[in-house]
Symmetry: C2
Subunit: 475 residues, 2 copies
């Protein structure tokens, strides 16, 4: 057997081919490139490649017959690829990357069998498959003469349709020029963080509040100033100076308060006085159950408020479609940042959404899914009342797609044990406590965020029944 070259290229060829066989890129019976072609491709000598092939033949990976190209040996079905060594440390990372990696990693898990109360999930059955498919086929067939990069703020057809929709549905008055189509509200928050915060800049955030917003601002170097919320939303009586405040005035996440009119005024006055911007996340503004609609902050002061909207709660979180309404003075900054970040949002989805908005199909869908989610909510509240009665206090049920359930008489310290028992019993349960500022006071009572938009009535009832059993064991 020919000796492999000292420089290791032969070893690298061997390792690579093995890996490609294990991973299924090459399957049993597949022909490898000729040694000549392989050598040219790798910039290696033909001797090295021949030696590597012989080695793999000797190890049983390849079969080499005289005069024919090497083939992958049978019996080498795709094996689970061993994870590459992760011990390697990066050479150097930016301060942004170091802040990012210091954030707590999110808990990921497969959906629980019986009922998963994860907030943010929607039911696949609610997606308007036919309307989407029809609009999508239309958009694909309407192929333009030239495929070229679009406007960083998004298609003008979509922004015109959204302008009209936002006026009708939310009382928002803006020009299409103030709208920026983003890849979901998370990108909107990240753009706010990049454009408005420098390392060391303070920002106001609701406590408890939405974690991924806080993380976006912290990763940008912002310093969180957590402010308590109550049943009327963010407490505005003693707001410290800051560069921006992140608020969820229509339905405080997670506790569900609606920011009172008085507090809206004092929040806007604070922003004017300190020169802060307000980032208004209207993440579930389409869902109002028992209360009359409240106009967004943006409608009161369009020069101060960056309004963040999303399609993740009405269509699907997997589409990654959202939008911003930005003050005129910030339009150019957002437009250029979107261009540099990823040019623009995907055009096909934008075309489909424009079509659904123009045909009225989107608003019909919203009415239908609002009704379905109101039913889910009623079933959940009824089940909680039937099974847990005074053992549970429910907050934030008037709007949105989730409630917070406080388990009266159960200490917050029992949350991990309850969650583990629930997972064991097929229940996905998510605590409120991680949404509180880690440096401040923590809730004393165990509390869970119950998202209901991904569950049908049967799952909701069974889920609450199982939950009641588990809680009884932990009381």
């Amino acid at each position: 057997m020919v000796q492999l070259e000292q420089d290791g290229i032969g070893r690298r060829i061997i390792a690579t081919i093995k890996e490609q066989i294990h991973s299924g890129a090459y399957r049993p019976g597949d022909r490898l490139p000729s040694t000549r072609a392989f050598a040219a491709e790798w910039g290696a000598s033909r001797t090295t490649v021949t030696a590597a092939y012989s080695q793999l033949n000797a190890e049983g990976y390849l079969i080499i017959s005289h005069g024919a190209r090497a083939i992958v040996a049978p019996g080498l079905e795709k094996a689970s690829v061993e994870a590459p060594p992760t011990s390697a440390q990066p050479r150097s990372l930016s301060a942004f990357a170091r802040r990012l990696l210091a954030l707590p990693p999110p808990a990921e898990a497969q959906p629980a069998k019986i009922a998963d109360f994860r907030y943010g999930d929607l039911s696949g059955a609610d997606f308007p498959v036919l309307a989407w498919r029809r609009a999508s086929n239309k958009a694909i067939l309407r192929r333009p003469a030239r495929l070229r990069y679009g406007d960083p703020q998004g298609s003008s057809v979509l922004r015109n349709a959204l302008q009209a929709y936002l006026w009708r549905a939310r009382g928002i008055s803006c020009t299409p020029d103030q709208i920026v189509i983003v890849n979901g509200s998370q990108q909107g928050l990240d753009l706010c963080a990049r454009l408005l915060l420098d390392p060391g800049d303070p920002f106001v955030i609701e406590n408890p509040g939405y974690l991924l917003a806080r993380h976006a601002f912290v990763a940008a170097g912002g310093v969180a100033l957590p402010i308590a919320v109550d049943a009327d939303g963010l407490r505005t009586d003693s707001l410290p100076p800051a560069r921006l405040a992140y608020v969820t005035p229509s339905h405080q996440f997670p506790l569900g308060g609606v920011l009172s009119a008085t507090r809206r005024r004092s929040l806007l006055a604070w922003a004017s006085a300190t020169g802060a911007y307000l980032v208004e996340d209207d993440y579930d503004g389409e869902y109002r159950h028992d209360i009359s609609p409240i106009p967004p902050l943006q409608a009161l002061d369009a020069d101060t408020v960056i309004y963040v909207g999303t399609l993740s709660k009405t269509l699907s979180p997997t589409l990654r479609l959202g939008y911003l309404v930005v003050p005129v003075s910030l339009r150019r900054a957002f437009s250029e940042a979107k261009r540099l970040t990823d040019r623009h949002a995907p055009m096909l989805e934008q075309d489909v959404l424009s079509d659904l908005l123009a045909s009225g199909a989107y608003e019909r869908h919203v009415r239908s899914i609002r009704r379905k989610n109101a039913e889910r909510r009623d079933i959940l509240l009824q089940a909680l009342n039937d099974r847990l009665g005074t053992h549970v206090s429910v907050a934030g049920a008037e709007t949105g797609l989730h409630v917070v359930a406080w388990m009266n008489g159960i200490d917050a310290e029992r949350e991990p044990a309850i969650i583990a028992a629930a997972r064991e019993a097929g229940l996905g349960l998510y605590p409120v406590s991680p949404l509180y500022d880690p440096g401040g006071p923590q809730p004393e009572t165990a509390g869970f965020i119950l998202g209901y938009a991904g569950l049908d009535g049967e799952a909701l009832r069974r889920g609450v029944a199982v939950l009641a059993t588990i809680l009884a064991e932990h009381r």
Copy 2:
């Protein structure tokens, strides 16, 4: 007439309704909400709304009949909305935003009538409409039980399919875990900038080079170290220390050189010695005309190179689909950055692309579009030779979707006049000079980047004929 409230809410209602009528959100004959509903929506008194409606009636915007809801007066067709005043200055912007807004704005224009040589455009006729539509309908109908946020690195099915494709097509050896699906290569470059550069950090960039890469690194605060390129790509004889180098080794953008094997080795040695990362933009690696394939840098050193791939040159720039292959040591940083930036790439497009890769349709399409673009290239080169002969020197024609045409004997200072005359004659022409570092030596001869992937044979021939006429007038 009732006096409008002092606080201005009445004035704001009037302005908003006018604007919505001008913009077409309300059309002639449309009914406005009742004063009661409007007042509730805006948190205004009913008296204020009634007064505002009366004012609009007096001004001819609305028609109010006793007992009926106000309607928009006829004859008020959608007018061109006056641009809102842009004099307003932002309250405060981050250093990132200030650097971003100091970058030169891109030249935007509608495609020219006869032939637009803009680089990056593809022909709409080349998009695989039927295959995409079929895969898309399959993906939409395969609706999952729950719609939930996905893996920030992208769907595992797509990453598995890409891993196999990258090995077959580009000799890249990686695990699916090293792949990150991004919204086009621009997002990949922006993620590199954010994760690897701090303000003040030097980065090496090709001169001339790709502007949006340079801009992404400069906006992150990086300090550009422009290094000259020649026919063998980036000159590596005296690379200064830097945190990263951005390179296009397969086909230098824009001049078209292929990085020689010797320079590849010295670039990798430089990176090891200085601890720099290499960002390898393989933006048109699928298009090789006269030369044999060259394995990417990534295949030589997977711990040093971040490989950037795109679907913008084979499918469409409007899809916003690209991918990174990152060193194992950087995987977590890229994954978490993608999550915080926008959660993950849209799932529907990922499913469609997985399907096209798995069925072989994607590779069939690449073969077909490669053939079409080779034909376009031959027509362009032939036309340039026929019409301009020795008046033109063509560079970089061996690979890719563009050539650089230097206009021998025409001074670079004449570029703006030629471009204006070309636009007048229906030709879109784009100069090479803005791609040179503004602080260094500029080309002396007029040169243009001729992108040909968006044009058919007839447009290419006519375009070159018109160009020859214009050049004759400027010689």
